[in-house]
Symmetry: C2
Subunit: 353 residues, 2 copies
């Protein structure tokens, strides 16, 4: 039976002034009326009912999860006392999902990515789940690249599996490539983006965890023995585990990994400039809310109520929220954190953080 | 006796989104808590009491004048039914000032300029008033140029008058020069900016008006014969006069014109980019309100409440008001009107005009 584990522990300030300390990207309604987390849950719902959906988030972020998911009552929310990257979070989700279901198959997905075709996304997950259910292998969804992206990790495709279209062995995980390598990957067709989507039987995952990441498997067994996932138990678990990603800690070390080619538009929304790829662009300007652009090809304008008007600023990003305005060139969108840092040290600056 | 005539009939949208249709530049608090009009009245007050201050404005702008001048009760406000440029406005002010004072000397000043040294400004006006009181000549204050400005008219200095320092005959008025000519003016020292400040006896002005601008002098005599300056009388006057400036209609044609060198910082605040000259610039960025600038030398940031944060945009102008944000390069500040035009034709756009 399928269980969803939605990873919603992300922090970050890359979408300042929208993202404030308490409100990470997954809790923002960047691209529509719903938050990215709510969109993620809605996208999975035809495959997995809310009763079998687990959201792993920061303990202090639990209220934001409930606020995001208006029908959150049946969802299981597990609050991490501190962030320890994804391996402990997935381990925790696996424990919760597998407790009453020895045949549980996990769909592990990030809560804060953008998907352009929900049906294709689900089709890929279903294909992966079918294969995972009958296998010891750990699965992933590999996203067909649409550009030579240097900001993502890649999966290198190996042999096809069975006669299932798009199902392949993964020969290896590749870290973020340089530009030339990324271009070669795009041209070669043998590399897919690693979007952090994993599909596997709980038993297979736990077995791999024991072999490759005993530092997490040990505390997980202790947590299981506790017989509870209450705050004190989670405190003990998180005090015992290292901070390590599932990619590095488990997937890259596992003997059998497979992938399903996912040919859907996808973006991890790494910064404001990513909105150029996913926001509508009438007349070449990417707009959300009330905007007006003259001579500003490629601008990204984001308004939460005011009219945002620009002239003669091609490729500029302008963001308006009720108490702040941000303007910078799209190619420097990563530097938003410098503004956040400057506010941290400025007297009174915390009111915008 | 001195009388002040403050010309406050200006319209304009060069400071959009601050300046909306009903609120022209003189009614904006661009540079401090007070409006430019209120600053102008305060600047003149040591020379002229409010009882002898006349504000000529658009009839529909009278409430804005009262709002600007908190102690406006004794001020005479004359509301023009339509704008006819400055000659009719000055004529009207001269009539009102001269009615009970045959020796009245007028100080005619724009309401919407910036002055960096009030005492020096008043000293120049006093020098001019002393000379005007004993003369048939029409006076002006010539502002010592601080840059080769091509956006202003100039006065060409003639012979010195008496032994009074800074007092000169004006040989001619010069229209806005090209860049090379403006540079030569600046280097030569014989040209001063025409800031639209005029000082003259009412009798001398009316005599010049009769000689050089009978199209205004005639209706003015009719208005005087009416014995009232009520709305109906002003309607008749404004229906009868042409639209013409005092510079072109009277000053350039007058036989005797003098000027007093005004060595004070001055700016007509023609657009947002002018704020670079008059706003404080800690760290090279011109700021008003809550702002934060990184790698944005020469930026002009204007906030009415929100934090305005920019990064990597040297020379950008960003303006925030409660319902709009404007961003454009300083060198294109004149093009703000294109945004206003675009809003005029956009469904619903009038709410920002």
């Amino acid at each position: 039976v399928l269980h969803a584990v939605i990873l919603a522990g992300g922090r970050g300030e890359r979408f300042w002034p929208l993202s404030r300390s308490g409100r990470a990207k997954q809790f923002l309604s960047l691209l529509g009326p719903e938050t990215l987390l709510a969109r993620t849950a809605a996208r999975l719902r035809p495959l997995v009912p809310l009763e079998r959906t687990i959201v792993v988030t920061g303990r202090d972020q639990e209220p934001l999860v409930r606020e995001s998911l208006s029908d959150a009552a049946p969802v299981r929310i597990l609050g991490e006392p501190k962030g320890r990257n994804t391996a402990p979070a997935v381990a925790l989700g696996a424990l919760a999902a597998g407790r009453n279901d020895p045949d549980a198959v996990l769909l592990v997905v990030p809560s804060d990515a953008w998907v352009g075709d929900d049906a294709a996304y689900r089709a890929a997950l279903e294909t992966a789940a079918r294969h995972a259910a009958a296998s010891e292998a750990l699965g992933t969804i590999g996203i067909v690249p649409s550009r030579p992206e240097t900001g993502y990790g890649y999966l290198e495709l190996g042999a096809p599996i069975d006669a299932t279209p798009g199902l392949h062995v993964v020969d290896r995980f590749v870290e973020k490539p340089d530009a030339a390598t990324a271009a070669a990957y795009l041209a070669g067709g043998r590399h897919l983006w690693n979007g952090g989507i994993f599909v596997m039987r709980v038993a297979a995952f736990r077995s791999a965890l024991e072999r490759h990441l005993p530092e997490v498997a040990g505390p997980l067994a202790a947590l299981e023995a506790d017989g509870t996932l209450d705050a004190a138990a989670l405190d003990r678990f998180y005090a015992a585990v290292p901070s390590i990603s599932i990619d590095y800690g488990v997937m890259e070390r596992a003997e059998q990994v497979f992938t399903v080619r996912g040919a859907f538009p996808w973006d991890d929304l790494g910064s404001w400039s990513a909105l150029a790829r996913v926001l509508p662009a009438p007349d070449g300007v990417h707009e959300r809310g009330e905007t007006l652009a003259l001579d500003s090809e490629g601008a990204i304008l984001y308004s939460e109520g005011s009219l945002v008007a620009v002239l003669g600023l091609p490729g500029v990003i302008v963001v308006q929220t009720p108490d702040a305005v941000l303007a910078l060139p799209a190619e420097r969108a990563q530097e938003v954190r410098r503004i956040v840092e400057a506010l941290r040290t400025r007297p009174g600056g915390e009111r915008w953080l």
